[in-house]
């Protein structure tokens, strides 16, 4: 998996569902199509829910890395 360069970053550790998704969505709205957002999400509910909602809204998850108790994702705006 090649390192993808991110255009924006958002650390959502400690932010609960569904606010974490809404924040990610708002951030994605500031980007152009094709640009990449790096997200940090807690394991458990956030990682169970946020990626699938992001997919449902038509964005692409390029990369996922597990880092202990959280996940680092790279999302390309659709």
């Amino acid at each position: 998996m090649g390192e993808v360069k991110a255009n924006a970053h958002l650390d959502l550790r400690g932010v609960m569902c569904p606010i974490n998704f809404v924040k990610a969505k708002l951030k994605l709205e500031t980007l152009e199509a094709g640009e990449v957002l790096e997200l940090v999400l807690d394991s458990g509910e956030p990682i169970q829910n946020v990626p699938k909602s992001i997919k449902e809204e038509g964005h692409k998850i390029l990369e996922v890395k597990k880092e202990g108790e959280h996940f680092r994702l790279k999302i390309q705006k659709g």
Binding site: Q48, K52, E56, K66
Partner: protein
């Protein structure tokens, strides 16, 4: 509830009718959803709302009618998703029914027959939904509502294994499921699916991060499919888990699973044949769960084989790959 039935109060109502010189068609009322209230002369009018869904325009019209006929100006949302207009004077049945008819709203049924189906939101708008529960409820209502049976016959549709419409407690329940399949070449080993699976049916390989799937734990919810970023988990097929013989009330009974992955287009056949079996085997006043206990589940399954063979057996395990 039996003694609150209008059918049991016919004589009394007749006397009242003579005094007011009005006529009410009792054949209409017998199967209709008019339930005697504690209060003298007052009834609850229960509306037919399959799946608990209603167009807003119709709701506005119903509100006006309810406001006109409810002596207390109240409605109640019933546990089976019906809208009930409370405190309606029986002398006004004919008027309220004709006003409801004008806006295309029918009255529900009581007694020993197929009741209005209930359903959750399902796949149309609920993120967990796997089946078109609302479409199914609509179909069952059109085809089977009011069909006579030995006792009440309640159906419901849930869109996924969370089972918000409680198919486990129905005479005949249908719960949406999806079979997950995994394709190795598409998998990046990100481990999200093992986090997403709430049943511990997926653990990540410690070296590759790729899923190790335990079909015995899988309940076919599809969380892995929705969570996987690369479509390595895919939906192989959708269908219903079919459950029979559940009920609540004073002596609740849990239903028995009789089929998995029954496709949408066999649901009508399943209900048709089950009602046929129930009418042939059930005693008057006996719920189908008790009929099955008495007659034996195998007899029922043999009878249903031509329909259930289109699904999978109850102990079906997904191969996963």
């Amino acid at each position: 509830m039996t003694d609150h039935f209008i059918e049991d109060k016919t004589t009394k109502v007749n006397v009242n009718l003579e005094t007011i010189g009005e006529r009410v068609d009792f054949n209409d009322l017998k199967s209709g959803g008019f339930i005697k209230q504690r209060q003298k002369d007052l009834f609850t009018v229960r509306l037919r709302c399959p799946g608990g869904r209603m167009e807003t325009k119709k709701l506005v019209e119903i509100s006006k009618i309810a406001d006109k006929y409810s002596k207390k100006g109240v409605v109640h949302f019933s546990f089976r998703q019906s809208l009930e207009i409370l405190y309606v004077d029986y002398k006004e049945f004919r008027n309220i029914v004709s006003e409801l008819e004008k806006i295309g709203q029918k009255v529900a049924s009581c007694g020993p027959r197929v009741r209005v189906p209930t359903a959750c939101g399902g796949c149309e708008y609920n993120p967990n939904g796997l089946t078109d529960t609302q479409g199914m409820a609509e179909m069952v209502d059109q085809k089977f509502f009011g069909t006579p049976t030995p006792h009440k016959f309640k159906t419901s549709f849930s869109g996924c294994p969370i089972d918000c419409s409680r198919t486990k407690e129905m005479d005949f329940g249908f719960q949406g499921i999806v079979e997950p399949v995994w394709e190795d070449p598409l998998c990046t080993g990100c481990t999200i699916c093992s986090e997403a699976c709430k049943e511990d049916a997926i653990v990540s390989d410690p070296d590759t991060g790729k899923p190790i799937f335990d079909p015995k734990k899988c309940i076919f919810c599809g969380d892995c499919i929705r969570a996987c970023p690369t479509e390595a988990w895919k939906a192989k097929r959708y269908g219903h888990i079919v459950r029979i013989g559940g009920k609540h009330g004073r002596h609740p009974m849990e239903s028995i699973e009789v089929c998995t992955f029954l496709p949408d287009d066999k649901v009508a056949d399943a209900i048709q044949k089950t009602v046929e079996w129930y009418n042939a085997n059930g005693k008057r006043g006996e719920r189908i769960g008790n009929t099955i206990k008495r007659v034996g589940i195998q007899k029922y399954l043999d009878f249903m084989e031509p329909v259930f063979k289109h699904g999978s057996p109850v102990n079906y395990l997904a191969p996963g790959v």
